[in-house]
C-alpha cells in the first residue's frame, strides 16, 4: 500500500490515519448502543489515541543531530502547518478558551485576536530569516548573530523561564484529563500524562514530535468541530454555526436584558465552590475599555512571535519560501478551532439560559434542576452549582454557577449528545495538551543540550553523546514540570498568559532587531534581554504583591512594560557601544536574502 519514501506518502499515511480514527469513533458509538459503559469509552479513547502517538514516536526514532533538532528540514508546508497548530493550541485553547469567552465575553476575545495576529509578526518579521540562518534553536540565532556565550546564555534563560511557566500548565491539563478519563487521582494522573508526552518526543526528538503533532492535530480538530456542528444542528441553531448564529447571539442579549445581571452578596458567594463563576458580563457587547483590550491583544501578539516552541517549528521546513507559506497554513489550521470557540460558547450559553429550550435551566424550579442527570454529574465533578439565594424556589441567572472547563466538557452532554462525543472531547483535550507540552519540553531541552551543553560547556562532544544529553534533559525537565504541576499553583490559563509576557519581555526585540537593525550589537542585546526579563518579572512580582501598577498594565500584560524596557535599553546600549564588526554585518546581509547557503551548516 505504501511505496517509496515517507515524505512523499504523507497525504496517504495521514488520510488512512484519519479514516481509521473516524472508524474508531463509529465503533465506539456502536459499542455505546450495545451497552458499553461511559467510563470504558473514556478509557478507550484516551488509551487508543495515546498508544498511536507512542507508536509514531517510536517509528520516528533517530540518531542524527539534524533529524533530532529540526526533523531533517524536510517537513512540507501544509503538514508543518498542522504540526504548528497542534504545537500552538494548548490544553487552554482546547478546554478553557470557550469557557473564557462564555464568562468574560469581549474582554477575553482579545486573546483570540492576539493569538492569531501574532502570526503576522512571525511571518513577516522573523520566521523566514531564522530559517535562512539555519539554526537549531532560538538561542542558536542569538548566540551566533550577537556572538559570545553571555548573549547565548541569556537567551537560554529567557527561553527556559517562559517555556517552563507554560509547560507546567500543559502537564497540569494532561493530568486533569487523564484523571477524569481514567478515573485516577490527579497526583498520579500528572505522571501518566508526562509518560505519554515523553513517549512522543524522547526517541525521535523534533522528528518524532512533528509526526505525532500532525496526528494530534487531526484528533483535536475533529474532537472540537464535530460537537460544535452537532450541537448547533441538534438545538436547531443552524447547520453551519459560524455563519448562522446571529439570531442566537441577539437572543442571548435579549435574555440578558430580561434577567439583568444581579450582583450577589459576598456572603452568598461564599457558598459557591472555588473556581466556579456565574454569568456576569454581556455576551456580545463591548465590555472592556479599548486599552484593556488592545494591551492584552498586543502582549499576546508579541509573545507569540517570541515563543521558541513556535519559532522552532519553522526551522523544519525545506526552504525559506516554505517557512513563510507554512506560517499561513499554521494560522489557517488554528483559525478552524479559534473561530469555532465563540460559537460553542454561544450555543452552550443559549442552551442553558433560554427558558424556551428544553435544556434551559433558568426559570425552572431548583428541585427540578437538581434532579437532572447531567446536573448531578457535573455538580459532583465540581463544575456546576446552583443555589437559591433569594429563596423563591426558581433558578435565576445569578444563582447558576459553572466552571470554565464545563463549556467544552459538559455542553455535549447537556445538549443530549451520546457519551461517545464526551470521550472524543477528552481525547481531543489530551491531544492538545500533549502536543503543546511536547513542543515546549523539547524547546527547553534542546536549548539546554545544544546551546548550554554543546556550544558553551563541551564544544567537542560527539553527536551520540549530545543526543544522550538531550534525552536525559528531556526527562529531567519533564519530571520537574510534572512535579510543579502536581502542586497546582496557578490556574491553567494564568500561567499560559505569563509565558507570553516573559517571552516578549526578554526575546522579542533582540530577535527582531537582530534581523532588522544591523547596528544592533552584543552589548545591546545583552542589556535588552537581561533588563527586559528583570523588569518584566519585577513588575509581575510588584503587582502580585499588591502594587497598583501603572498605565493600566496588569499582571496579564506585564510584558508590555518588560519589552518597552528591553527596546529602550537595547537601542541605547547599542548606540553608545561600537557597531558590530564587518563579519557580523555581512552575516545580517546574507540572512536577508533567501537564496544561498544558510549561515550555520547542516551539522553544527
Amino acid at each position: 500500500m505504501i511505496k517509496g519514501n515517507f515524505i512523499d506518502n504523507l497525504p496517504k499515511v495521514y488520510g488512512i490515519y484519519t479514516g481509521g480514527f473516524l472508524a474508531f469513533i463509529i465503533i465506539m458509538a456502536i459499542a455505546e448502543q450495545m451497552g458499553m459503559s461511559a467510563k470504558a469509552i473514556g478509557i478507550c479513547f484516551v488509551a487508543f489515541t495515546v498508544a498511536i502517538y507512542a507508536i509514531i514516536g517510536y517509528l520516528s526514532r533517530t540518531a542524527q543531530a539534524d533529524a533530532y533538532y529540526v526533523a531533517g528540514r524536510q517537513v512540507p508546508t501544509v503538514f508543518n502547518g498542522m504540526a504548528t497548530a497542534a504545537d500552538w493550541m494548548s490544553g487552554a485553547s482546547f478546554v478553557a478558551m470557550a469557557g473564557g469567552i462564555y464568562f468574560k465575553g469581549y474582554g477575553y476575545m482579545a486573546l483570540l485576536v492576539g493569538w492569531t495576529g501574532g502570526y503576522v509578526l512571525v511571518a513577516s518579521l522573523l520566521a523566514p530569516y531564522l530559517r535562512k540562518f539555519g539554526c537549531y534553536t532560538v538561542p542558536d540565532f542569538i548566540g551566533t548573530r550577537y556572538g559570545g556565550n553571555l548573549a547565548r546564555l541569556l537567551a537560554v534563560i529567557v527561553l527556559t523561564v517562559a517555556s517552563f511557566t507554560y509547560v507546567t500548565a500543559q502537564i497540569n491539563a494532561t493530568g486533569t484529563i487523564a484523571s477524569v478519563a481514567l478515573d485516577i487521582p490527579f497526583q498520579y494522573a500528572v505522571y501518566v500524562g508526562l509518560v505519554s508526552i515523553l513517549l512522543c518526543s524522547m526517541l525521535g526528538g523534533m522528528r518524532g514530535v512533528t509526526w505525532t503533532q500532525v496526528a494530534q492535530y487531526i484528533v483535536l480538530i475533529i474532537a472540537y468541530l464535530l460537537p460544535v456542528f452537532w450541537i448547533s444542528n441538534k438545538i436547531g441553531a443552524g447547520f453551519f454555526p459560524h455563519f448562522m448564529l446571529a439570531d442566537e447571539v441577539s437572543r442571548i442579549a435579549e435574555l440578558e436584558a430580561q434577567f439583568g445581571f444581579v450582583k450577589n452578596s459576598a456572603e452568598n458567594l461564599k457558598e459557591v465552590p472555588k473556581g466556579l463563576a456565574g454569568i456576569t458580563k454581556a455576551h456580545s457587547a463591548v465590555n472592556a475599555t479599548p486599552w484593556a483590550f488592545i494591551s492584552l491583544a498586543l502582549a499576546m501578539m508579541m509573545g507569540t512571535a517570541s515563543l521558541p516552541h513556535v519559532m522552532m517549528r519553522y526551522f523544519t521546513t525545506p526552504s525559506v519560501k516554505a517557512a513563510r507559506k507554512s506560517v499561513g497554513w499554521s494560522l489557517f489550521f488554528i483559525f478552524l478551532l479559534y473561530s469555532s470557540a465563540p460559537m460553542l460558547a454561544t450555543l452552550s450559553k443559549l442552551a442553558l439560559i433560554d427558558p424556551t429550550l428544553p435544556t434551559g435551566i433558568i426559570g425552572k424550579s431548583v428541585s427540578e434542576v437538581q434532579a437532572i442527570d447531567w446536573y448531578q454529574n457535573w455538580n459532583q465533578a465540581n463544575l456546576m452549582f446552583i443555589s437559591d439565594f433569594n429563596g423563591n424556589g426558581t433558578v435565576e441567572l445569578n444563582e447558576f454557577f459553572m466552571g470554565g472547563k464545563a463549556v467544552v466538557l459538559a455542553t455535549p452532554e447537556i445538549a443530549g449528545l451520546p457519551y461517545v462525543i464526551s470521550g472524543l472531547v477528552a481525547a481531543g483535550g489530551m491531544a492538545a495538551a500533549m502536543s503543546t507540552a511536547d513542543g515546549l519540553i523539547l524547546a527547553i531541552a534542546n536549548a539546554l543540550s545544544h546551546d548550554l551543553y554543546y556550544k558553551i560547556i563541551d564544544p567537542k562532544a560527539e553527536t551520540a553523546k549530545r543526543l544522550v544529553v538531550a534525552r536525559v534533559l528531556l526527562v529531567v525537565i519533564g519530571f520537574a514540570g510534572a512535579t510543579i504541576a502536581a502542586m497546582e499553583i496557578q490556574g491553567i490559563l494564568g500561567s499560559v498568559i505569563w509565558a507570553f509576557d516573559f517571552a516578549m519581555s526578554g526575546l522579542f526585540f533582540p530577535l527582531v532587531l537582530g534581523v532588522w537593525w544591523k547596528r544592533a550589537n552584543r552589548e545591546g542585546a545583552i542589556a535588552g534581554m537581561a533588563l527586559g526579563l528583570i523588569s518584566g518579572a519585577g513588575y509581575l512580582i510588584w503587582v502580585r504583591s499588591g502594587g497598583s501598577g501603572f498605565l493600566g498594565i496588569t499582571q496579564l500584560t506585564f510584558g508590555i512594560f518588560g519589552s518597552a524596557v528591553s527596546l529602550v535599553s537595547m537601542v541605547v546600549v547599542s548606540l553608545i557601544t561600537s557597531e558590530p564588526n564587518a563579519a557580523t554585518q555581512k552575516m545580517v546581509d546574507e540572512v536577508r536574502v533567501p537564496s544561498g547557503k544558510s549561515i550555520l551548516g547542516k551539522q553544527h
Binding site: L298, P594, S595
Partner: protein, 86 residues
C-alpha cells in the same frame, strides 16, 4: 544602489504595508469597539463581535498568504529565490 540593497528596500516596503494592515485589524479598529458594535456586520453579528470571532482572524490568514506571495515575487525579481517548488 546594489541589487541587494534594492531587494532589501522593497522587502522593507512590503513589511511596512503588511504591518499597517495588521495594525488596523489587530489594534486600530478596537479603539472604536463600542461604536462599531452598534453596526450590524457580516452574517448579522454585531460588527465588533464579528471581528473578534472571525473577521480579524480570517484577515490575518489571508494577509500572511498575500505577504508570502508578494515576498516571493520580490525575491524572484532580484534572482534571490531558492530552487525547488515547495
Amino acid at each position: 544602489m546594489s541589487k541587494q540593497a534594492q531587494h532589501w528596500e522593497k522587502t522593507r516596503g512590503l513589511l511596512m504595508v503588511t504591518l499597517a494592515i495588521w495594525f488596523v485589524f489587530s489594534i486600530g479598529i478596537f479603539l472604536f469597539g463600542a461604536e462599531m458594535n452598534e453596526v450590524t456586520g457580516p452574517f448579522g453579528y454585531p460588527l465588533t463581535y464579528w471581528f473578534t470571532c472571525q473577521g480579524s482572524l480570517g484577515i490575518f490568514v489571508i494577509l500572511i498568504f498575500w505577504f508570502a506571495n508578494r515576498q516571493e515575487k520580490i525575491d524572484e525579481e532580484f534572482g534571490f529565490s531558492e530552487r525547488g517548488d515547495d
